[in-house]
Amino acid sequence: MTQLDTQSTGLARRDFLKVSATTAAGLSLGFYWPNRGDAAETPKLNAWIEIQADETVIIRYARAEMGQGSRTSAPMLVADELEADWKKVRIEYATAHENLRTKRAYGDMAAVGSRTIRNSQEYLRKAGATAREMLIAAAANQWGVPVSECTAALGKVHHAASKRSLSYGKLAAAAAQLEAPKEVKLKDPKDWKIIGKPLPRVDIPDIVTGKIRYGIDAQVPGMMYAAVAACPVFNGKVKAMDASKVENRRGIVKVLNLGEFVAVVANNWWRAKEALREVAIDWETGDHGQLNSAAIMASFKAGMGQAELAVARDDGNTVQALASADKVLEAEYYTPYLAHATMEPMVCTAWLQGDKLDVWTSTQNPEGTLAVSAATAGVAQDKVTVHPMQLGGGLGRKSPQDFTRQGVMIAKAMAGTPVKMVWSREEDIQHDLYRPASLVRFKGGLDKDGKLNALHIRVSAPSILATLLRLPLPKGVDGQAVASFNDHPYDIPNSLVDYAQRNSNVPVGFWRTVGHSQNPFMRECFVDELALAAGKDPLAFRMAALGQKSPRDMAILQAVAKAADWGGPLPKGVFRGIAETEGYGSYTACVCEVSVSDKGEVKIHRVVIGIDPGHAVNPDNIDAQLQGSVVHGLSAIFWGEMTVKDGRIEQSNFHDYRLMRLNEMPVVKTVIAPTGGFWGGVGEPTQAPLAPALCNAIFAASGKRVRSLPLKNHGMSLKA
């Protein structure tokens, strides 16, 4: 063992071990204790909870809110353990700069990966329970009775024997002076009073009355506006710029050549945008201007024949099993690049004043925003304030910080002047970090009894992790590219999943549900093909293939099938399709009921979609997520496709990148079937089973097997 100098290293070593242990467990925070000097004024029981004399309980929410509803659900976890009266709870944002100052008292702040609830539930519940115990102890001290004789409920501590009660507002100051208990016992789920109750989202009144402040609504006195144009060919740069036509135009403040992009700064955004159209920009595109969709597809197809492939799963001997199978099915599926197209485009307001920087932006990753802002402006991280704003949609686009970097570059060039940068819709559609396109080949082998005995899945697709984040890939496999293949739940003795990494100059990123947004479509449609080949009912075939190794997959499949009356009578011309998926720690299934006209009009009569997230914290919000998944999913399924020509994206706005309309929304029946014992995500997995269930129903109705999306390319339309 190394002989450590105990005088100089002893404490550090203990700190090191403590940090190591907490980081390994995924809990990088401890409880931050604020300065007790202000306890009498605004008693804070820990970083998360503040209780005011008027009984208002302030609970801090540390992640972003973009419509996913966890600004309500996460505080519910705290409030339940706190035994708070939900009616008296007010939720406030924690900030990235405060998190930095307190050595990450609020932990991870990124709202990504459907992990707000599942990754923070333990420390949030502990924060509530700790504060509850301190309030009880304060009351017991005041009454001179044992703590064990006191209970807490609805914002009060009670002593049953003497029939006395004290409200949290009256106890908070004294409680804040006490030491926090080191260990607290969390409630048994059967005792939850707030968790599991369908509560309306706290931000709904402000949304419907227009009071909510989105990132795009940021207003700073003296603020200027910027419109930007990056090279339409990805990774291109500005070779030359001539802004003489617009520089002296009314309202134009400055035209900036920032190397990677051009920005026009004006006294209103429309003037900036219109002037930008008349700035002559000569772009340096290199060889990338030759790229097109056909070349990308050719690259994917070449990947299918690649000699050396990364192996993501290899159970049994699939090649041999396929060779000896009674029946072998083979099919190739394709899904296209997709843009996020959030309702609010990329936006960033930044104000550099000396060594101090303020940033207002719609970000899924406030800490990342802080880091990128500081690095871009060249100021210290503790000089950056990231103001929390609601997001006008995120869908994964607003976790990478390319747009923040642009906004701060402009602010740096305009030092002293606050500038709001807003992307046009065209800029947004054409400079996204796209959901990767993917080509997948399946080979399935059935034995003489129609049992699935071998499955080979070959994926040829770009890697998000290798290109966007440049992470090392275990065995060369991007886990997102093969998601739902490498971890498929079917009890098949021979499974081979291999992967050809095929990157292009089209930048890829995290689109809601990521690999699970496309791979379940392919997998579950191919499973339907196998069921048909085996002459079996799609539900029965799946149940048999799942076996007893995947009880939760079976349970949600059965729950949704039952809710949809699978096998029951349907009106003439209406047919069903079914699918089961899993991801982000949850289990999902869907049944679609459709009819298809001779003209290819698809009428969706009903969608039955369900989830088992383990614990369902706010069923009302899960219900909304399930329905929202149908809206978002159907837009992609019917129309979503980004195509590439001359190195650039061909689509530019909602006229050629359509979203679903209100009158096209089908009836949705939701099934929330929590089986308890685990915490799964909701925002992303709910979208996974829709596409395969729908396309399986389309096959049942029309006999047309859809093996690529969107449906518009198959002559199909959505009938309102």
């Binding site: 090191f16 993501a312 800490e367 990478p400 910080q401 890939l473 065995k475 990521v514």
Partner: protein
């Protein structure tokens, strides 16, 4: 500045990274991949192979880096050691050690009186939030070190369930 070749080290790091992943012997099924990778090492696990029982003191080494990084792609990192860098008293080696990366020794610089200053400035590629160690070997055979906590945010909808 020390006479080092960052590019060469970076290439070596990449080679080693891939090699290490292969050597870990993954099970047949690659689990869903998180944004962070690797196990966190203890201080002892990081230092023992190099220090090998010599005297080790947390002193004289200084680190300048960011607290937060939005991703681990390219994190600025500067380290310097208080040393006269004379023939009698100088820093002979400087290591940058990672608690979590596939390869623990991210960099090893060979220094001497000719270096003038015991200082190294580079950019690091980090597989997630972790503690970093800058370890200096003195010409006396003793070691000095300093630690830095660094948070790498997980900025993507990765399904690591």
């Amino acid at each position: 500045m020390p006479q080092t070749s960052h590019q060469a080290r970076r290439r070596a790091w990449l080679r080693h990274s891939l090699g290490c992943w292969a050597a870990l012997g993954f099970a047949s099924q690659v689990k869903a991949q998180g944004m962070v990778s690797g196990k966190l090492l203890s201080l002892s696990q990081m230092l023992d192979p190099i220090v090998a029982g010599a005297k080790l003191v947390r002193a004289d080494v200084h680190i300048e880096t960011v607290i937060l990084a939005d991703n681990g792609l390219s994190v600025p990192f500067r380290v310097w050691v208080d040393s006269p860098m004379t023939a009698q008293n100088h820093v002979t080696h400087l290591w940058l050690l990672s608690q979590r990366n596939p390869v623990t020794v991210m960099a090893k610089a060979h220094l001497g009186p000719h270096s003038g200053r015991a200082e190294l400035s580079t950019r690091l590629r980090l597989a997630g939030g972790q503690q970093l160690v800058a370890l200096a070997r003195l010409s006396s055979g003793e070691f000095r070190y300093e630690l830095a906590d660094l948070i790498v945010t997980e900025a993507g909808c990765v399904d690591s369930s």
